[in-house]
Symmetry: C3
Subunit: 206 residues, 3 copies
Amino acid sequence: MHPRLTLAISVMEALALFSYALSGLIEARKRRLDAVGAFLVALATAFGGGTMRDVLLSRRPFYWVEHQDYVIVIFAMAIFAPMFLKMTTRLVDERMLLVADAIGLGLFSISGTSIALDAQMPAFTAVMMGVVTGVFGGVMRDVLCNEIPLILRDSRPYAVCAFAGCWIFLGLHWLQVDSIYNVLFSTGFILVARLVTFKLDIRLPH
Amino acid sequence: MHPRLTLAISVMEALALFSYALSGLIEARKRRLDAVGAFLVALATAFGGGTMRDVLLSRRPFYWVEHQDYVIVIFAMAIFAPMFLKMTTRLVDERMLLVADAIGLGLFSISGTSIALDAQMPAFTAVMMGVVTGVFGGVMRDVLCNEIPLILRDSRPYAVCAFAGCWIFLGLHWLQVDSIYNVLFSTGFILVARLVTFKLDIRLPH
Amino acid sequence: MHPRLTLAISVMEALALFSYALSGLIEARKRRLDAVGAFLVALATAFGGGTMRDVLLSRRPFYWVEHQDYVIVIFAMAIFAPMFLKMTTRLVDERMLLVADAIGLGLFSISGTSIALDAQMPAFTAVMMGVVTGVFGGVMRDVLCNEIPLILRDSRPYAVCAFAGCWIFLGLHWLQVDSIYNVLFSTGFILVARLVTFKLDIRLPH
């Protein structure tokens, strides 16, 4: 892989984890949880999807065992959460959080699909694994905070974007498109689909 | 195994999955979830028990990886859920749903016990695995929809029927009854026990 | 290991499981669950942490497969729960339950850390595994009963005590302190830290 691409993917990955952890901290803040609670919710949000995927695929070691430094960063974020959230609400506005979350969704979903394909899963299963990797962190966050998971309630397309993007990834994979371009394109598709449908306020029927 | 029996078991299995998925869709409908939410809840209800059993026994591939076609059917059910539910409420009345659910409970519980026995689990553990396989789908459905699981709240015997049936299966297994008759008899026992206690409105103390 | 120490640890272990199961039964009672519900909640509370740890570490057989007799005792406790709770509220007052729970927290956390170390996990991960083993049973109890987990809500130090104790265990392990003394000391630390911070009503910021 081209070293600049490896770097770009690492940066996107860190950004995705960071924004998922942040959404966990914000939710924890709303419920007035203490530092430990905030840490656990942030951890579950950031690593829930990947861990679920690894349990389902019998993959070891877990993502957060390989990336122990991320756990420590989230730990620090949770301890300094009160300060940190004040700082971020000044620096990071709603829109930026939405973008970061959409990057996370795209990257986690595509990486989940790609790993499931490597593990010889059939097509539909690989796509479902991708969607689970992308959305399960948010489900855990909401179950821990005693809410119906947002993804089940909100009729704006979220899992649907991931679902479509994973199929695109699969299609390009079958067409033997180079995997780097494929990852970038399908992640980009999910990102754009999420932002555009959000902006246009398109809603699923229910 | 006699080919007609194999067919009969496949039909019962499909019926069980279908009725579990349906109960997930109905619950999702009540909470006004969108199509994606309905799909995920239906999936969790239908495959939750089997997946939990396979995680606990380290069994792979998962049931829904082997039976990918069922996942696709549930996907279609969720998309057409609004139409579908209108259709089913005309065709399928409450009583039929209750019977289908009881068949599901019986079949899932007995298959769980049988698989746990094959994996050399001790008796009590095998029975508990059976009960978990039978009831965990419903627990996941209710946790996702932010309710106390019905099985914990409702004092009508449900897990108890599965529990008794699994012990009967184990007893007949020790007596070396032919496994086909054993499966049919114990599944039938759970089915009848559930329907009779429901009809007579027998309740557990609490 | 010295036979008297082995006995002491078995007794503490049984006490820990018993007190965790009891807290599950009390919670189930409050929600007016029936006998089956009470059993399942008690089971999840007592074995949830250890099972989660074993799933994360790919360890088999599960704790409750090796200790099937404990499952049967909890089963009996749930059946006789109404009588049992009346008896225990006479015998066991709040303070005793708090102590038993703190012993459980200490023992489960330290055993989790120790097992994770044996499985070659890095330091921070081993500590997190310990905390998860100690607290996850309570999280499952509260999710099943449809509450925000107590550990996330209550600002009195609980997971924090386990976290500190696990680091002490790790530190002494690096200093090559004999493992028996190490287990006793770190478990004792968690126990004392929990009781003292509770008594002094020390609270985490939130």
